[in-house]
């Protein structure tokens, strides 16, 4: 009895291989940062718990919803281009950019609020971690939006189709990484105590 199953070939990483090397490097940096935060917190529990309460969990949660939604819009953009629907793909990319912009705006308000209270990187250990971790992620969101914007411009010029959308998958992979990092950063810095 022939029981050989058709062995499904593993699929390739979506998008350009170079972006994945960049993604893995960035994830490694955040890995170290998250663990350092956890260890330093374990050595300064009262202080971290006290100042964690000064953060706006509303803004943190709203930003999480924005990034998850924006990430989902990028998934829809990929699905659209796979069906050769360039117009719809562009629509979803703009929707994703709007989500990213919303994140940056809320984050800016959050920083403005803290900075106007005189809080900065040298205020104390907790704020040093909070500001450096979130600003580092903030910069990744900006880079992610620049990538998505470049993709939208190329899409307008007809550069992508069902047969040729490697560039979109490359940008999408990076954008999902930005979302993935925030999904850990939000509970770690804003919630867990």
């Amino acid at each position: 009895m022939n029981t050989s199953k058709t062995q499904q070939e593993p699929t390739l990483l979506p998008g350009d291989f170079a972006i994945w090397m960049f993604i893995f490097m960035e994830l490694f940096v955040f890995f170290i940062a998250f663990i350092t935060y956890s260890v330093v917190r374990a050595l300064n529990v009262e202080m971290f718990n006290k100042f964690q309460q000064t953060l706006s969990t509303e803004l943190g949660a709203a930003n999480t919803l924005l990034l998850i939604t924006s990430s989902y819009f990028v998934v829809r953009a990929i699905q659209a281009i796979k069906h050769d629907d360039v117009k719809r793909c562009i629509f979803w990319l703009y929707a994703a950019l709007a989500g990213g912009a919303g994140f940056l705006i809320l984050k800016t308000f959050e920083y403005y609020d803290k900075l106007s209270e005189g809080i900065n990187l040298s205020t104390n250990l907790f704020y040093m971690f909070y500001l450096s971790l979130t600003i580092f992620h903030f910069l990744h969101v900006i880079l992610g939006m620049i990538i998505l914007l470049a993709i939208v411009i190329k899409a307008h010029r007809g550069a992508y189709s069902a047969d040729n959308h490697l560039g979109i998958e490359t940008g999408a992979s990076y954008w999902h990484m930005v979302d993935l990092v925030w999904i850990i950063l939000f509970p770690l810095v804003y919630i867990i105590r």
């Binding site: 979506p14 893995f24 956890s38 969990t57 919803l65 939000f186």
Partner: protein, 73 residues
Amino acid sequence: MLLLTLSTYWMGKIGFSGVIAIFLLLLTTIIKATIIIRDFMELRDVSLVWRIMMYGWLWGICIAISISYLISL
């Protein structure tokens, strides 16, 4: 995922803390992150080595966080 985020927010709002809170918060984080890795990033069927790297990253962080939090309780 949006509901999981709202539940995370709610746990934070009511000041939920302790072992159970850490477990639940990390569990919701792992679920959301797994959906992002598997479905959004479309890594469900990629080579095992990439999946090990991504899930290793996720679980490594969450295990390290839980250990350091449990130590500090």
